[in-house]
């Protein structure tokens, strides 16, 4: 048994100055987790508003709502902010809140570093956001391919480069902290393999981040020197090669998509057993599967570049290695379904989002397999089929898992239950409107509608209208999530019990609700099998 002592209460600031000092200088993992989560929630609505503008422009052909260059800026910023400003910080926020609680640690291993990794982010986003006032903002898509971003990039590109440097630094520091925490701060008796799966998801993700964020930083540094200091890394005129940019970018970019999904796997692996009231099926295999996926993610990047004229042998290698990822992923989906099999299931909001994750992430995985096939990819490349694919893996994959995680843990954080009825409405509106928005994009892509254009041929009108209507419902439905978050923070709901969920297991549920400001201040003990 472990003891979670109810230590000191939350600090109560008397003046505004005290309040600012508390949040700016905090080294408490719970405060920093909250800061991360609220920042990403804000960014979610900012980048979501950009998506609404994109769909408004595409609601009928020949629309003159947005200037085409501004449309390109919206597409670029929507992608950059959703990846770097929403999903990544939100998972780091969950990690900050949950990892110490789940392993019975009083805080992260390096609390001051933790404060710094968060407070770098607002500056990065201010620098990135400021480009919107420098007409034109970056307008070459979130992949910022050279030479679009070097020779032809607008002056504001330099601001984007520095924003990426700062975000990268923040991610690297955060990963170092997470690895150090999980290696050092576990409760007595908790072996590495005993760690909850969410911790494992993050442990492996942190290594991925450590491997790829410096490569991205190097790549944008090369862009910077190409733009201003006369180097020719990506400039054919000086003996460089634009294709090298794509290799470097996707060497970062492909593991990056697993950075966005592996913590989600962890969240789902906590929620599915809880609401099935069973143990996770094949626990150690789930951990190995995450490790194998992480390894494979480093050797598949060329599948983003099949049409660049890479040799046949490389196309075959990357096609097969990409398809290989379906094996460990399939194992994971199988194990989640098997965990639910003959369980005594209940369908509270976190579980609904987890099931939505299972179903629609798998569909996104299937369209990924279609894209992995080289000859098929020659047709799908740069069409709306790709847009449909990555929104199917990123929204039900990462975003649903984040929503599920927040609904799952917010009663523990705030001490109050969210409004279940609103939560259910949120889920059903989200999942239905998500499909209305993105399912037709598969058909648009197969019919040949290219991505990243502000206008399209007449025959694509009907599906685009459907997609736009779905997007507006999706956007509005997210206000229900905001409502529920505020509902919990203000304590309007029913009080949460300590265990919160009947089937919950793990050290974090042994703490009182709301969780005290300081937990596990005395060394705690862990018995094998206490976590899912």
């Amino acid at each position: 048994m472990s003891h979670a002592t109810a230590g000191h209460g939350y600090p109560h600031a008397k003046t505004l100055g005290d309040w600012i000092k508390r949040w700016v200088f905090t080294t408490n993992h719970k405060d920093i987790g909250t800061l991360y989560l609220l920042t990403s929630l804000l960014m979610f609505f900012v980048a979501g508003a950009m998506a609404m503008l994109i769909r408004m422009q595409l609601i009928h052909p020949g629309n003159r709502l947005l200037d085409p260059d501004f449309y390109n800026q919206m597409v670029t910023m929507h992608g950059l902010i959703m990846v770097f400003g929403v999903i990544m910080p939100a998972f780091v926020g969950l990690a900050n809140w949950q990892l110490p609680l789940m392993i019975g640690a009083p805080d992260m291993a390096l609390p001051r570093l933790n404060n710094w990794s968060f407070w770098l982010l607002p500056f990065a986003f201010i620098i990135l956001g400021s480009t919107l006032f420098m007409n034109p903002a970056p307008n070459f898509g979130w992949t910022f391919y050279a030479p679009l971003s070097t020779t032809y990039g607008p002056p504001s590109t330099d601001y984007m480069i520095f924003a990426i440097h700062i975000m990268g630094l923040s991610s690297i520091l955060g990963s170092i902290n997470i690895i150090a925490t999980l290696l050092n701060m576990r409760a007595g008796g908790m072996k590495l393999m005993d760690m909850p799966i969410f911790c494992w998801g993050w442990f492996i993700t942190a290594f991925l981040l450590l491997g790829i964020m410096p490569v991205l930083a190097g790549t944008v540094t090369m862009m910077l020197t190409d733009r201003h200091f006369g180097t020719s890394f990506f400039n054919a005129a000086g003996g460089g090669d634009p294709l090298l940019f794509q290799h470097l970018f996707w060497f970062f970019g492909h593991p990056e998509v697993y950075v966005l999904i592996l913590p989600a796997f962890g969240v789902i692996s906590e929620i599915v057993p809880t609401f099935s009231r069973k143990r996770l099926f094949g626990r150690s295999i789930m951990i190995y599967a995450i490790g194998i996926i992480a390894f494979l993610s480093y050797i598949v990047w060329v599948h983003h570049m099949f049409t660049t004229g890479v040799p046949l042998a490389a196309e075959l290698f990357f096609m097969y290695s990409t398809m290989l990822i379906a094996v460990p992923t399939g194992v994971k989906v199988f194990n989640w379904v098997t965990t639910m099999f003959r369980g005594s299931l209940t369908f509270e909001t976190p579980m609904l989002f987890a099931i939505g994750f299972l179903f629609f992430f798998t569909i996104g995985g299937f369209s990924g397999l279609m894209l992995a096939i080289v000859p098929a990819d020659f047709q799908y490349q740069d069409t709306y089929f790709v847009v449909a694919h990555f929104h199917y893996v990123l929204i039900p994959g990462s975003v649903f898992a984040l929503m599920a995680g927040v609904y799952f843990w917010i009663p523990k954080w705030t001490g109050y239950m969210y409004n279940e009825k609103i939560g259910q409405w949120h889920f059903w509106l989200t999942v239905i409107s998500f499909n209305i928005t993105f399912f037709p994009m598969h058909f648009l892509g197969l019919a040949g509608m290219p991505r990243r254009i502000p206008d399209y041929a007449l025959q694509f009108t009907d599906f685009n209208v459907i997609a736009s209507i779905g997007a507006f419902i999706f956007g509005l439905a997210q206000l229900l999530f905001l409502y529920n978050v505020i509902y919990c923070i203000r304590g309007q709901g029913r009080k949460a019990t300590d265990r919160v969920w009947e089937g919950a297991r793990g050290l974090e549920w042994l703490t009182p609700s709301p969780v005290p400001y300081h937990t596990f201040t005395h060394s705690s003990e862990f018995e094998k099998g206490e976590s899912h």
Partner: protein
């Protein structure tokens, strides 16, 4: 178990190492492309003319010229759009270049071959792309290219495209 601080230092060094790895990829990429001949860059060293031909098969070669955006006031063209010949035939193609500015300009032509794997079989004896060219104000010039296609070129390659892009050669680091 190590202290958090030493873990942090080790992991920090890993991160710095990966930053260096990104830069290491640049020469590695160039060497790999050169050795495997996969990115369509033909050799820039002169090679002796061929003295026998393989008359059993015919190749089609297409010639493309383009000007980089930073040289828009130049003219660059060839009258030979496409030519058929045998592997091992010595061929000459003439390119026309004209400087329409009032300044002396130095230019560099960068070749690229499609399909990429065919680049290693394009053997050039003389080429204006080997060196930078300096043209006075409004000067025009005919620049020759002397080459042959190696007889060992795989049988599945029938058509090649040789493209030259003209760049202004600034002083680069």
């Amino acid at each position: 178990m190590k202290k958090p601080k030493s873990i942090a230092i080790i992991l920090g060094l890993v991160a710095i190492g990966m930053f260096g790895f990104a830069y290491l990829m640049v020469p590695f990429y160039n060497v790999m492309c050169k050795k495997l001949g996969i990115n369509g860059k033909p050799s820039l060293t002169p090679i002796a003319q061929s003295n026998e031909e393989d008359s059993s098969r015919m190749l089609t070669m297409q010639f493309v010229t383009s000007i980089n955006a930073n040289l828009s006031s130049f003219e660059f063209s060839t009258k030979t759009i496409s030519r058929q010949f045998h592997p091992g035939d010595n061929e000459t193609v003439l390119y026309f270049v004209k400087n329409n500015t009032d300044k002396e300009m130095t230019i560099q032509a960068i070749p690229s071959v499609t399909p990429g794997l065919a680049a290693q079989y394009v053997k050039k004896t003389a080429c204006f792309c080997f060196t930078q060219q300096t043209l006075g104000p409004h000067e025009s010039r005919i620049m020759p290219l002397l080459f042959h296609i190696d007889q060992s070129i795989p049988a599945d390659i029938n058509t090649l495209t040789l493209s030259y892009t003209l760049f202004a050669a600034k002083n680069r680091i």
